[in-house]
């Protein structure tokens, strides 16, 4: 079995560094992909949706160019069952949580800061 791919879509460069460390700490065997906004990620996925789609996407909501919601609307057209999407946002607003529930592809919602335990939780669920 090839390594799982975790895709991180977030415009916060510091968070990008930190999440790398967190995933490393959780000792999950995986590959990490990083994108600064939804547009970049989408462009990459659509190049070859079979091959390029990751197993896990950790998606931020507030991003330039294309934010998390717009990304969700577009990824809905191409994503398959193999990809699980998790929202990881600094937003703690109730509205955002509720809105996330309207997308069946979104498997979970985490408010920052995210911990290595959260990562384990996500990957463990995925293993099954």
């Amino acid at each position: 079995m090839s390594n799982k791919v975790i895709c991180i879509i977030d415009d916060d460069s510091i968070y990008q560094i930190l999440i790398n460390k967190i995933i490393a700490l959780s000792k999950t065997e995986c590959e990490i992909m990083r994108f600064k906004n939804g547009r970049e990620a989408l462009d990459y996925f659509t190049l070859d949706s079979d091959k390029n789609l990751p197993e896990i996407i950790l998606l931020d909501l507030e991003m330039p160019i294309m934010d998390g919601w717009d990304f969700m609307l577009e990824i809905d057209q191409i994503v398959t069952q193999k990809t699980a999407i998790y929202i990881v946002s600094s937003s703690i607003s109730y509205e955002d949580r509720e809105k996330a529930k309207t997308f069946t592809k979104i498997k979970g919602y985490f408010s920052k800061p995210i911990s290595s335990n959260n990562i384990l939780e996500i990957t463990k669920h995925f293993d099954k």
Partner: protein
């Protein structure tokens, strides 16, 4: 005029009293009928009288004729007696006389009261030698004629020779000495026949024939119908030669009355019928008339009520000529609302007091009303009060007349809603303010949630890593990251502070600023960027244009928009920016040929905080947010048009 009025009252009196009028008609007709009946009664009774006297005269004349014949006969018979008292040729002459005179049944000569000669002998021989002067029943009358020396008719009496008859006796004197009688016998039936008594029409009248009995002195009647007729209508004539009395009696004592009773009854019925007929035909008009009076009274009443409503109404009512818009009548409240006196208003039209901005709408609605398309309309409009202030009213107009008809006049009902309106406006203003603030507060909380929390969550994670760091290098790396976070947090705080200060700064210094000059200033400030990108900024704003603005805001707005145009330039072309001003709409237009923004996707977000649409490292998503806030604070608006890859146009409207 008063004559007409009197006539009206007169006819009204009758029209409303059909029963009385009917009775009056009855009385009138009945009086007329009575008059006519009386006239007829008189004429009928006069006719009867004349008829009776005619008949009686005829009969009387016949009697006279018979008596005269009798006289002539007796006289001729007397001539047969010669001077010696001996009749000569009696039979021969008597036969001639009797044959000749149909009225005479027999003749006789009665010397010294004893019947000695009779003709016709056979029928009368029974009377021979009958002494009339000694017979008590006959003596009286015989003596009477001797005494008077004239012919006298005795009887009718029972004749010696049988039957009833009257005997006319002429006394004969010879040498001054009574000789005897020359007599004629007229039988009663002959007398009746020849006098015409029997031949009269007996349907109406009958005769009676009487004589005062010389013995008993009582009146004897000789004809049938001997009943008492004193209560009947009769006429009589006296025949002195026999002391007779001839009566003509009307059979029916009520004959005259009967003749008029029918017409009286008919007249009465006719009068009754007329009275009832008049009453009945007048009852309908009377009912109608009373209905008319009732309706008129109702109308008068409702008119009075309407007048009261009109005058005391708490809303303004005006009657207006639809064609011209001229006021015909207005109520006191209407005068109160627009501040003019009634006599001033009725010289004006509604156009004169309507707010110019509402006039077009108002006239359009009136056009529809005039043409009959609508019968009523309602809207809010403004009047100009006499004092010049604006009055808001709720206007309801309805044409007088049926739907589809073109009204000549219409009613305008006007309610002063100025207070309500201004209260509403105030309410709307404060509502707008509150919801605007609420929106901004939400936005702000969102900013705090997203932007501040992203920093704090990073700090949390970093501090956790610092704590758990195993090596010095690791810790240093984290501390470096911490510095970066603190720097960007600082930046965010500064941005937020700026935004808050725009909103809280109420007492901003506002000056007359020359727009052209400030654009030039911005061009100067952005000089390096413009020249680096080889761009051009064309300032077409006339040098005379001045706006009331805060200096710092104007600088910020122009700086941001021009620098954005350069920052987001299209890689294939040099940036070209054209800045112009439209005096009519007081709008500043900044047109560029930049990469453009997909407004379909991002239209709502373009002026939001931390919304960026490109990968440009300089874009922070704060510039347009601040520009928008500054323009809002100055009471203006900003609009954006853009086409991806072609360019963007920002339009700023000044207050």
């Amino acid at each position: 005029m008063s004559l007409k009025k009197n006539w009206q009252n007169f006819s009204k009196w009758f029209l409303t009293r059909p029963n009385t009028t009917g009775k009056l008609v009855f009385v009138l007709f009945f009086t007329l009928v009575c008059f006519l009946v009386q006239f007829r009664y008189e004429s009928v009774s006069e006719n009867q009288h004349r008829e009776m006297s005619n008949i009686l005269n005829v009969v009387h004349h016949n009697f006279e004729q018979i008596l005269k014949n009798s006289y002539t006969t007796t006289l001729t018979l007397a001539m047969t007696v010669n001077d010696d008292g001996i009749p000569e040729n009696f039979d021969k002459i008597a036969a001639q006389l009797v044959d000749y005179n149909k009225s005479i049944d027999a003749v006789q000569l009665v010397p010294n009261g004893i019947i000695k000669y009779v003709y016709p002998f056979k029928e009368n021989k029974a009377a021979l030698n009958y002494n009339i002067l000694t017979t008590p029943k006959l003596k009286e009358e015989a003596l009477k004629s001797i005494q008077s020396r004239l012919i006298y008719f005795a009887g009718p009496l029972k004749l010696k020779q049988g039957g009833v008859g009257t005997i006319g006796r002429l006394p004969i004197f010879k040498k001054g000495k009574f000789w005897g009688f020359s007599a004629v016998i007229i039988r009663l039936e002959t007398l009746l026949k020849l006098s015409g008594i029997e031949s009269i029409d007996d349907s109406k009248y009958y005769f009676q024939f009487s004589k005062i009995n010389p013995v008993s002195n009582k009146e004897d009647f000789f004809l049938k119908n001997k009943e008492d007729f004193s209560d009947k209508c009769f006429q009589s004539v006296i025949i002195p030669d026999g002391d007779w009395k001839l009566y003509l009696i009307a059979k029916d004592k009520n004959a005259v009355f009967n003749q008029v009773i029918t017409s009286s009854v008919l007249g009465l019925l006719f009068s009754l019928f007329c009275g009832l007929w008049v009453a009945s035909i007048m009852k309908k008009p009377a009912r109608l008339q009373s209905l008319v009076y009732n309706q008129a009274a109702k109308i008068e009443n409702s008119e009075r009520e309407f007048k009261a409503i009109f005058d005391q109404s708490p809303i303004g009512i005006a009657r207006i000529e639809t064609g011209t818009g001229k006021f015909i009548s207005v109520n006191p409240e209407f005068c109160e609302i627009i501040g003019y006196k009634e006599d001033e208003i009725i010289k004006m039209d509604f156009q004169a007091i309507t707010h110019p901005d509402d006039l077009v709408h108002n006239l359009e609605a009136m056009k529809k009303l005039k043409s009959g398309v609508v019968i009523a309309f309602e809207f809010e409009k403004r009047y100009i009060h006499k004092s010049g202030k604006t009055i808001w009213v709720n206007l309801t107009v309805s044409g007088i007349g049926a739907k589809g008809e073109k009204p000549i006049n219409h009613i305008a009902i006007v309610e002063d809603i100025t207070d309500k309106k201004s209260a509403g406006e105030d309410l709307q203003k404060s509502f707008d303010l509150v919801s605007d603030q609420n929106k901004r507060l939400l936005n702000f909380s969102y900013i705090v949630s997203h932007n501040l929390r992203s920093h704090t969550s990073n700090i949390e994670t970093i501090s956790h890593f610092i704590e758990t760091a195993e090596t010095e290098a690791e810790r240093d790396e984290m501390i470096d990251l911490l510095k970066k976070v603190s720097h960007s947090l600082n930046e965010t705080m500064a941005n937020l502070n700026e935004v808050v200060s725009i909103r809280t700064n109420i007492n901003l210094n506002i000056e007359h600023l020359n727009l052209n000059e400030y654009i030039e200033k911005a061009k100067l400030t952005l000089g390096p960027q413009i020249s680096m990108s080889e761009g051009t900024v064309l300032n077409l704003v006339p040098k005379t244009i001045e706006v009331n603005y805060n200096t710092a805001y104007l600088e910020s707005i122009l700086f941001n928009l021009i620098s954005n145009a350069i920052r987001y330039r299209h890689i294939d072309r040099k940036p070209e920016i054209v800045i112009s001003f439209d005096t009519d709409s007081k709008a500043l237009k900044i047109v560029d040929n930049s990469i453009g923004i997909d407004l379909k996707k991002n239209g709502e977000k373009i002026f939001g905080m931390y919304k960026t649409f490109s990968n440009n490292p300089d874009s922070k998503g704060i510039g347009l947010f601040i520009v928008k806030n500054q323009i809002d604070a100055m009471g203006g608006t900003i609009e954006v048009e853009s086409k991806l890859h072609e360019g963007t146009t920002f339009t700023i409207y000044f207050k």
